[in-house]
Symmetry: C2
Subunit: 454 residues, 2 copies
């Protein structure tokens, strides 16, 4: 039986197995899900072992364990390090899911559930590709190392230490990652640039306790208003971030790259249909694609304070909170930006309140050339899986590990993503198109097979 036939014959079984993993609510941001995180790590380790990987280990960290596996039975052949993550974003707001976040369901050719696209579905593509290769050929055509972490959605906080302490073990000729998106339906894509991510939380305190807004209103600082005034000042009217120095280290795009990015078959109509906002905005002087992939941002991710329940409560709360993040582009440095952002916040806040400023995570941006021979193999493999020629794109999201690996080992990083931009990663009704899940298994299996002749 050849590889394509083997994969084709196991579609149902693959899907059922993926659903098992999706049912584990491995939400890395929440302490209460610690047992689920452990369960997901064990599930991944078990499947790696079942697929014939020789060494499989669950490595504890200060937060959530990493799963590492290797199969080094192809002497003289290249060594590939595959990276993915088994943790997922929180599922809230729960009421907006059509079917429950952790009860995977197929509708209209899509598999719905938290983690389907980001990143359990894509990790499973690789597990099944490796398993198929071994089943058909008896062994893997290349040397494979696999690292699946459980902290990607909280900034990969333990990963850097792990890489530093395991350099020899992780060394490979190339890094392969599937945690990105295709440019659009039917457009297989290879991502060569990612934005970095710093995530912040602030707590603003005015009065030392909640106050009656009738009895005290008009003569005390309201931390909710102060928070609003702060974030109103973080952008100017051209949607530029007003943090002094924020743009100092932004590398200018070459005219050629700018032209290439704007010439991609990216459809404004699809973008607007997915977003569905009454209007659009963004930094003046840049196209939407440039804004999304090549420009740094500052975005509020959550705000809260005071009464949020039904009806009315006339309170001036003691505290107001915000979670926000900056997306970074080459060559912005996360540490420098974090300092500048904190300075800006503290400068803008009035003396009527106090403020606790926390940096929850930091991650560097990444963009790299794509001339190495492995990229040709990737294009060929994607064509086998999808019948279309792949394009080279950048992405607005962040994968800290890619930057870390690139900086550490200076090897090509091949990011082949099987999600779609409108599949609600990080939002309710996250899903993956089944055609891309099954096409992905086929493409990835051919990719690993072809790498034997790299």
């Amino acid at each position: 039986m050849n590889l394509a036939e083997y994969i084709e014959g196991r579609k149902e079984a693959h899907l059922e197995e993926l659903k098992e993993l999706l049912r584990i609510p491995s939400v890395s941001a929440k302490r209460e899900h610690k047992p689920d995180i452990e369960r997901a790590a064990k599930w991944v380790a078990d499947k790696l072992r079942a697929s014939g990987m020789k060494t499989v280990e669950i490595a504890p960290t200060n937060l959530h364990p990493l799963v590492y596996a290797e199969s080094l039975e192809a002497p003289g052949k290249p060594t590939i390090l595959f990276y993915g993550h088994y943790d997922v974003q929180p599922p809230e707001p729960l009421e907006l899911w059509t079917s429950p976040a952790f009860e995977p369901a197929v509708r209209n050719g899509n598999l719905f559930g938290r983690g389907t696209a980001d990143d359990k579905g894509q990790v499973h593509i690789h597990l099944k590709a490796l398993e198929s290769l071994r089943a058909v050929n008896g062994k893997l055509p290349v040397n494979v190392k696999v690292l699946i972490e459980g902290e990607e959605e909280v900034g990969s906080v333990s990963l850097w230490d792990y890489v530093k302490n395991n350099k020899a073990k992780l060394k490979a000729d190339a890094l392969v990652v599937s945690d990105t998106s295709m440019l659009g339906r039917g457009v297989p894509s290879i991502t060569y640039g990612l934005r970095g991510l710093n995530y912040y939380q602030i707590e603003i305190t005015g009065p030392s306790k909640d106050l009656h807004s009738g009895v005290y209103g008009g003569a005390v600082p309201n931390p909710l208003t102060v928070l609003c005034e702060l974030f109103a000042k973080m952008h100017d009217k051209n949607f530029r971030v007003t943090v002094p120095g924020f743009y100092d280290d932004v590398r200018k795009l070459s005219a050629a790259e700018r032209k290439a990015l704007n010439a991609l078959p990216w459809k404004a109509k699809d973008f607007k249909q997915t977003v569905g906002a009454p209007g659009y905005c963004g930094e003046k002087g840049f196209s939407v694609v440039e804004r999304l992939w090549t420009r740094p941002t500052l975005e509020l991710n959550g705000i809260w304070g005071g009464y949020q329940g039904e009806g009315a409560k006339t309170v001036i709360p003691s505290k107001a909170y915000a979670k926000f993040s900056t997306r970074l582009v080459p060559d912005q440095g996360p540490e420098k930006i974090a300092k500048l952002v904190e300075k800006r916040v503290r400068t803008l806040l009035p003396k009527t309140v106090s403020c606790k400023f926390e940096v929850l995570s930091m991650g560097k941006p990444w963009a790299a050339p794509f001339h190495a021979p492995i990229f040709k193999k990737a294009i060929a493999a994607l064509e086998k899986g999808f019948g279309k020629k792949a394009v080279f794109i950048r992405e607005g999201g962040s994968i800290p590990f890619v930057t870390q690996m690139y900086d550490t080992f200076k090897v090509p990083c091949v990011l082949i993503g099987f999600g779609l931009p409108d599949e609600n990663a990080h939002a309710p009704d996250e899903h993956i198109a089944l055609e891309n899940y099954f096409g992905g298994i086929k493409a990835v299996a051919h990719f690993y097979a072809d790498l034997a002749t790299l």
Copy 2:
């Protein structure tokens, strides 16, 4: 046995009975507490009946029932209408209560629990004063009507209709209310002015669903940022509300009243100790007392949107919410202000978002002369209860019923409050000083007794 001895001998029993009422979580803002609301109404009706009121009825409304009772056995004597409320504010944030909100507890001479000061404790003062008078004298010295509502904390939405439909029944020579505060410890106070209250809620929608802030950040409207920018524009740098026309109908204080208010034994030190903010702010050109009692405000009472859980979630939410309110002073009209506020909000919002604007409740401000003979009786009674001469104050809070009664019947409204400004009405650890609770029963009993000779 005389009245003072009778009351003195029943202190423990009175306190235990009040605790029963405090244990009922009659939160009017929350649908889930509907059964508790019903239970509290019944409790109040039962106690009125037990105190010998002849007619006691629970009047259903579209929301929460009103309790009405009357005793008209003093022909030729004045008729007094006493008003209070049995509903309470939501207890959140629960974690900031030293003892649970609905498990009343005595500490350091104070009774703690939601509703102790606002307004169950103060309603109970009147119930026990009336019961004592009847027990000692066999009947009440004046005609008494009692109206205890269950919607005060949600804007008394059903009350106006009830008053309109029951004008003859509610007619009285004076209205007596205990739902305000004393100026400070040991300063019995009669309130002659209240601010009105309009309460609003807005929902701002940007994208039609939550989006990944990496994939979409920088090219879509973030409703959290839009909300911040909106409320940053609602005040100018002198802390004046920027709604056009907002101050047009504000009646200027007379020089005499301004002087009298600023001469009260109000202590900035106590105020600052209660509030405990790093700094203070308010409308330029007015003293703190003027800001609190005589100037209109716009305050945020709650904001929320996006991720509020532990850790990080990189989301651009679809929606952002705010609850906010305007406190009104004579002669601002609630309907006019609501229209001006909505217009301002809609004018300020960019076309990139849509907005749902709701007015949850409206209530008129009130301020009235205090020359009628009944005020002398109130001063004398307060002196019997507290050994001190009372002062005339205004208050920043709102009691819609007072305005409605004053406008409808043009009778004196006597607001004698037994709370203290630092007793955390609407906040965690709400309490009432036992000395004021017991002093209140004594003062109110003497007040009703003296009114026979009005």
